[in-house]
Every structure is written in structure tokens, then in C-alpha cells.
């Protein structure tokens, strides 16, 4: 694997300076993305969020959000599941760029990122720590917290170790680890850049175009990295298999088929076969099934049929679920120091992310503000900076042609809320 800088510079125009934000949340123990049939104590799931923002000429114009779920068994990572949650552009890039190639480069990087990277730091697991005196938690009252602080202050001999909770060290990855990719495609006027659909330069793909767009991205990733035993699937709720197959005809990887990667049997209960991701429309439908007390009745095959009827999956707009399940034979690498900012907490992660997603992009001012705020916050609060990337793709190089078609395309796989219900940051 090349560095993220290299991967991106290859797809960005020659002699042009770009700047990248790559945030990673602290790895944290999480519940499984599947509803457990019985509690499985042998497995631990570690969840991480990545957030990317790309800018040029002091404007942020592209953003991608994804989640990585590592399944740990016997202190080894056996599976890395990548859920691509949202991608979007706002149309404020003055250069000719290929959003598809940028997205492919980032996925290239994530797919081949060594799972051990996430485990190199200690991971907080559930439970509170023993010893070290009382800790201050979310439930601690103000008065008691003041007493604890005073006690710590008074006993300031050596280090007054604040409590850090239980941590668990995980050895690394299983040599046979598998890599999964999940994403959900649906065209929306905007996903991460609110109001950006009002920029006339932003080009919005139809549901069908978006599906083809993502298929081509994933197909490239498959060809580049996955071994021959890999399974790649496409499910279009409510669509006949023959029509779904037509979407797959141009793909280069040989292992595409209609279906999903989570279950072989359509007779299986949907509740155990369908993963639930953050802000996930099919997850919301699954919740509804549970609320209606039908969890033990709805089979996987019924699920897809019913899903199509849901508001978020209305006819006339092609939506799809794409999945990959396979192995990566090539060597994986850890990230270079400068190419990822691992946040100290989810809270700070959200603050920085909201400098992009909380802005409004009806005019280019939002893109400028997002950039300036990111730059200043990283500098003032984290002593970090955006990663500079110099493009090296010659305009005549193959692959750069036809970029006009997907230039500034909003490519967002998933999610219902177009605009955050409560946009926090937005100056």
C-alpha cells in the first residue's frame, strides 16, 4: 500500500496543491452490527469512525464518512468490516477532478489499512476500573466532582493518576482475517454539505447513475486487492434478479452476483441476518419490525420485499445495497504519521467534523469557512495541520478523461437525513 498522500496525488491534477483532513475516532468497544442470537462472549467488536475532507484554494469541496468494525476473537482481529456511510461534494472545486478516482483512492487506502493499526492503542472496554480512588464519570454530581478534584489536588504526590478504566490489549490480526465492505446507494441532493444542491455547479446523479458509479468504484477495489475466493453482491430491493444482473455486466471482477453478503439462506430470519449501521435506513426498518413484534416472523426474503415499500426506498428512485466479503492477499500497512489525526475523544471528533458538516454551502463562503475553521482549530487546539498533497496526474493521462462527467458529483451512499436535524456548527 502506498501512503494516502501518494494514492491521492496520483488522481489529482498535476502541479496543483490540495489539502486533506483525515480524522479517526478513538477505537472503542461496541455492540455487534448484528442482533445476537445469544450473547457471544468470545467476540469483541471494536468500532472506529473515519472522516475525510478534501480542499483546494482554501475551500473544502469533498467529504467522505465511513465506519470500520473489527471483530476480535481470541485477542486477534478476524474481520474488518468497512461501512461507507456518506460521500458528497459541494461543487466548489475550481480544478478538473475526478470524484470517483478520489473516492477509489481513499477506499484503496482503507481496505489495505492494517487492522492491527486500530489495536495498537489500548481499547477501552466496558466496566470501571478498580483502585486509584474515585473517578469522575458522567453521573458524578458537580459537588462530588469538586471533592474528588480537591482530594486529588491535595494528594499531589507523584502522579495523581486519574482513573482510566479497564483496557484490553489485543495482540493483532489473525493471518486469515477477512475484509467486508457494505454500502447503501441512494441519490440525494446533498449528504454532508447542506444547501450545496443550490450550487448550480454541483451535478447530482440519478439513483441509477449513482449505483453504477459506486459499482465501478467497488469493482476497481475488488480487482486491485481481493483474492479469488471473494464474494461481491448487489441487492436492489424490489428489482427482478435479471434486471439487477444487468448492472453487473460491465464489472471486471469475476465474483459479482445478486444477493447480499450476510446470509446464504433467504429463509433465515432477517433480524439476525441484516446488520444495523449508524443512521442506516434498512436498520430503521429492522427496528420497526422489532417494534411491531414481527422480528421472529420476517424472513430475509420478506425483508427485501417489504423494504422496497418503505418510504425511504420508494419506487422511481433506484436504491441498492452493495456488499463485499473476501480476503486481501497483499501486505497491509499502518498509516504514516502525518496522514491521520486520531482524535482523543468522540467529542472532539464531532467538533472538528461539524466544522464541515455544520456549515452551509449555498455559496462558496461555506467552503471557505469550513476550510479556515478546520485549519485554525487543528492548529490552535491540536497542534496539527491539514495534509498537503500535490497532484501529479497529467491532464493527458488515461483515466483523467471523462472526469467532467462525475466532476463534482454528489456521491452519497446512504442515509435519510439530508440536512442534519440539528446542525451545530455553521457560521
Amino acid at each position: 500500500m502506498s501512503s494516502l498522500e501518494n494514492l491521492l496525488s496520483r488522481v489529482l491534477p498535476e502541479n496543483k496543491k490540495f489539502e486533506l483532513l483525515h480524522l479517526q475516532s478513538p477505537p472503542k468497544e461496541s455492540h455487534s452490527v448484528f442482533v445476537q442470537q445469544r450473547s457471544d462472549c468470545t467476540q469483541t467488536v471494536v468500532k472506529v469512525q473515519h472522516f475525510f475532507g478534501l480542499g483546494a484554494d482554501e475551500k473544502i469541496f469533498y467529504s467522505l464518512e465511513l465506519f470500520v468494525y473489527l471483530t476480535i476473537e481470541s485477542s486477534k482481529a478476524i474481520e474488518k468490516l468497512i461501512f461507507v456511510s456518506k460521500a458528497d461534494t459541494n461543487g466548489y472545486c475550481d480544478e478538473k477532478i475526478s470524484v470517483k478516482d478520489i473516492t477509489t483512492a481513499i477506499l484503496d487506502y482503507i481496505v489495505t489499512l492494517d487492522p492491527s493499526h486500530y489495536l495498537s492503542k489500548e481499547i477501552k472496554v466496558s466496566g470501571t476500573s478498580p483502585g486509584c480512588g474515585p473517578s469522575i464519570t458522567r453521573c458524578t454530581t458537580t459537588k462530588r466532582a469538586l471533592k474528588i478534584l480537591k482530594a486529588r489536588h491535595d494528594s499531589k504526590k507523584g502522579d495523581n493518576c486519574p482513573n482510566r478504566g479497564f483496557f484490553r490489549n489485543i495482540e493483532g490480526k489473525d493471518p486469515d482475517w477477512t475484509c467486508k465492505i457494505c454500502l447503501f446507494t441512494r441519490s440525494e441532493p446533498q449528504y454532508l454539505f447542506s444547501e450545496s444542491s443550490r450550487n448550480p455547479k454541483k451535478h447530482i446523479l440519478s439513483g441509477e447513475q449513482l449505483l453504477r458509479w459506486w459499482l465501478s468504484v467497488i469493482d476497481k477495489i475488488l480487482v486491485r486487492h481481493f483474492d479469488s475466493g471473494t464474494k461481491a453482491t448487489l441487492q436492489i430491493p424490489g428489482e427482478e434478479e435479471s434486471r439487477t444482473l444487468r448492472y453487473l455486466s460491465n464489472n471486471k471482477a469475476p465474483f459479482w452476483r445478486v444477493g447480499d453478503i450476510f446470509s446464504g439462506k433467504s429463509s433465515e430470519l432477517a433480524i439476525f441476518a441484516i446488520p444495523v449501521f449508524p443512521d442506516d435506513p434498512k436498520g430503521r426498518f429492522l427496528e420497526q419490525v422489532v417494534e411491531e413484534n414481527r422480528a421472529k416472523k420476517v424472513r430475509l426474503s420478506d425483508f427485501w420485499v417489504e423494504l422496497q415499500v418503505q418510504q425511504e426506498f420508494r419506487l422511481g428512485c433506484t436504491v441498492s445495497v452493495i456488499g463485499v466479503d473476501g480476503r486481501i492477499p497483499k501486505k497491509c500497512f499502518g498509516p504514516h504519521n502525518n496522514e491521520v489525526i486520531v482524535m482523543p475523544s468522540k467529542k472532539v471528533f464531532s467538533i472538528v467534523k461539524s466544522y464541515i458538516v455544520g456549515e452551509q454551502y449555498d455559496t462558496s463562503e461555506g467552503a471557505y469557512e469550513a476550510y479556515a475553521n478546520l485549519r485554525d482549530f487543528l492548529h490552535l487546539r491540536m497542534q496539527r495541520s491539514l495534509l498537503e498533497i500535490r497532484g501529479c496526474r497529467k491532464s493527458s493521462e488515461p483515466g483523467s478523461k471523462g472526469t467532467g462527467s462525475d466532476r463534482n458529483a454528489p456521491v452519497r451512499p446512504l442515509n435519510t437525513l439530508t440536512v442534519r436535524r440539528k446542525v451545530k456548527k455553521s457560521i
Partner: protein, 272 residues
């Protein structure tokens, strides 16, 4: 020397918290006293508006989250709700102690008319918990300091149609159907009257939440909910979920240089 100062200041800050608490408590006593008088006038006015509480209870979207849909039939029978704060009569009571009194109209052959009062009191002694459920030590410390809501069980006559789930009538506690009926009944609004706050996981869930909803929101703001219901009838029922579906508001993008609105913060405008 310097350290001492910090230590003393932290201690002083803790004392200030006590003073703030005292000031808030004293103010709250006074406030409830004043409001109780006003609520007497309100009660009279409400009595002249048929179906007032039915409108309020259907308008309040959160209230429905605490009860089962099947309860709504009997919640529609509620002809009056009153909340009284114990400290108005008894200065020694915690200002958060209160009694809820609910009048039900009858449904012939199914449900008797009745007036039921349930009193809620703040408790600080965590040893009173009969079941601990998932309570942590941290929860205990917090509840000991801030207090937690409890109540004595109150008798209420259940509708006949609920015989199958009325927990005091469900005798079969071994078959899965029997268990389910029992638990279903426990989630009914009628089980709330039995709620004690001392058996988490074994009684009506979130009984304190429902009690506070009534005393802190539904009762004080009932007129607001009543008038809001009239707006909704005229316009359209816009609930929060719909907000995300609203059409995007366009702002003109080429204002004067002084135009700072283009990128107005979408932090919600607070009421002044």
C-alpha cells in the same frame, strides 16, 4: 502556598453549589405557592371547556410514549388532572414532592368512574431499593445526593377488557404466554399507579419519567398544549420528524458585502 489556594477555592466552589441549591429551593417554594393559587383559577376555567384534557393528552406527543396504545381508550376518559405540591401545605416537604389526582369518567359495562390520587416523594436512602437491577455504585452516590423519586402504590380499578393482562389477575406465570400477558399489563398506564420507584425492572417502566412529565410539563403547560392542538387542526400536523423533510430554504446568494446572513449560524434562535 499556591496549592493551598486552589484546594480552598475548590472547597469554596462546593459550598457555593450548596448556596445555589438553597437559593433555587427557596425560590421554588415561593413559585409553587404563587402558582398553586393561579392554578385554582385555571381549574375553574378548564371545567368550562369540554374535552380539555382529552385534547391536551392527545396533543402531547411524549405522553403517549409512556403508555400502551390500548390504554388510550381509557386515557380519553380522563376528565381532570390536578397536581398539588406538598410544600405548599407543609414547608418541611421537599419542593419536588407532589400529588397527582386524576378523574376518570366511566365506560358502561367496562370501566368505572373514579378519582385516583398518587403521591410522589423524593427519597435519599438507596438502601430502600428492593431490586437493584443494573444500578451501579455511581448511581447510588448520585441518588443519595440529589434524591430520587418514589411513590406508594395506589389502588385503581382496571377496565374489564384488561382482565387478561391485569397483573393482579394473571395467575399463569409459567407459560410464555402467561409471562407475556403479565409483562404487557405491567406496561399499561394502570400499572403506573402501583409504581414505587424501588423495584427497577420489576414494575411499570420509567414511572418517574411519567410522573415528572405530568408535574413539570403537562400540568404547568396544559393551556399551551390545548392551544397548540388548535393550530395543528388548522394547519398541518408538523412533528419534529418532519422537520428534516422540509423543503430547503433558499437564500439569495449575492447580497451586499455587509450581508452576514448568507451563512447565518443555524444554531436555533433562543427565546429571550
Amino acid at each position: 502556598m499556591e496549592e493551598d489556594k486552589v484546594s480552598k477555592s475548590l472547597e469554596a466552589l462546593a459550598r457555593v453549589e450548596d448556596e445555589v441549591e438553597k437559593a433555587e429551593r427557596e425560590t421554588e417554594f415561593l413559585r409553587l405557592k404563587k402558582l398553586s393559587a393561579v392554578y385554582l383559577n385555571r381549574k375553574e376555567a378548564i371545567a368550562g371547556i369540554p374535552g380539555f384534557w382529552k385534547v391536551v393528552l392527545s396533543q402531547h406527543s411524549d405522553f403517549a410514549n409512556y403508555v400502551r396504545a390500548a390504554d388510550l381508550k381509557y386515557i380519553d376518559c380522563i376528565s381532570a388532572i390536578e397536581v398539588t405540591w406538598l410544600c405548599v401545605e407543609d414547608e418541611k416537604a421537599d419542593h419536588r414532592d407532589f400529588t397527582v389526582t386524576i378523574n376518570f369518567d366511566a365506560i358502561d359495562g367496562d370501566f368505572e368512574s373514579q378519582t385516583v390520587s398518587k403521591t410522589f416523594r423524593i427519597e435519599h436512602d438507596v438502601s430502600k431499593f428492593i431490586y437493584r437491577s443494573k444500578r451501579t455504585e455511581e448511581d447510588d452516590l448520585r441518588d443519595e445526593e440529589l434524591g430520587f423519586l418514589t411513590s406508594t402504590p395506589t389502588e385503581i380499578k382496571w377496565p374489564k377488557s384488561f382482565d387478561g393482562i391485569n397483573p393482579s389477575l394473571v395467575t399463569d406465570k409459567t407459560t410464555s404466554e402467561g409471562k407475556r400477558n403479565y409483562r404487557t399489563g405491567m406496561k399499561s398506564f394502570f400499572s403506573w399507579f402501583k409504581w414505587t420507584g424501588l423495584k427497577p425492572g420489576k414494575e411499570f417502566p420509567n414511572g418517574d419519567g411519567l410522573a415528572s412529565l405530568i408535574s413539570e410539563d403537562l400540568y404547568p403547560n396544559c393551556t399551551k398544549y390545548y392551544t397548540e392542538a388548535q393550530i395543528d387542526l388548522e394547519e398541518e400536523n408538523v412533528d419534529e420528524d418532519d422537520e428534516s423533510d422540509e423543503p430547503l430554504q433558499l437564500e439569495s446568494s449575492d447580497g451586499e458585502p455587509e450581508d452576514c446572513d448568507g451563512k447565518q449560524k443555524s444554531v436555533k434562535r433562543r427565546k429571550v
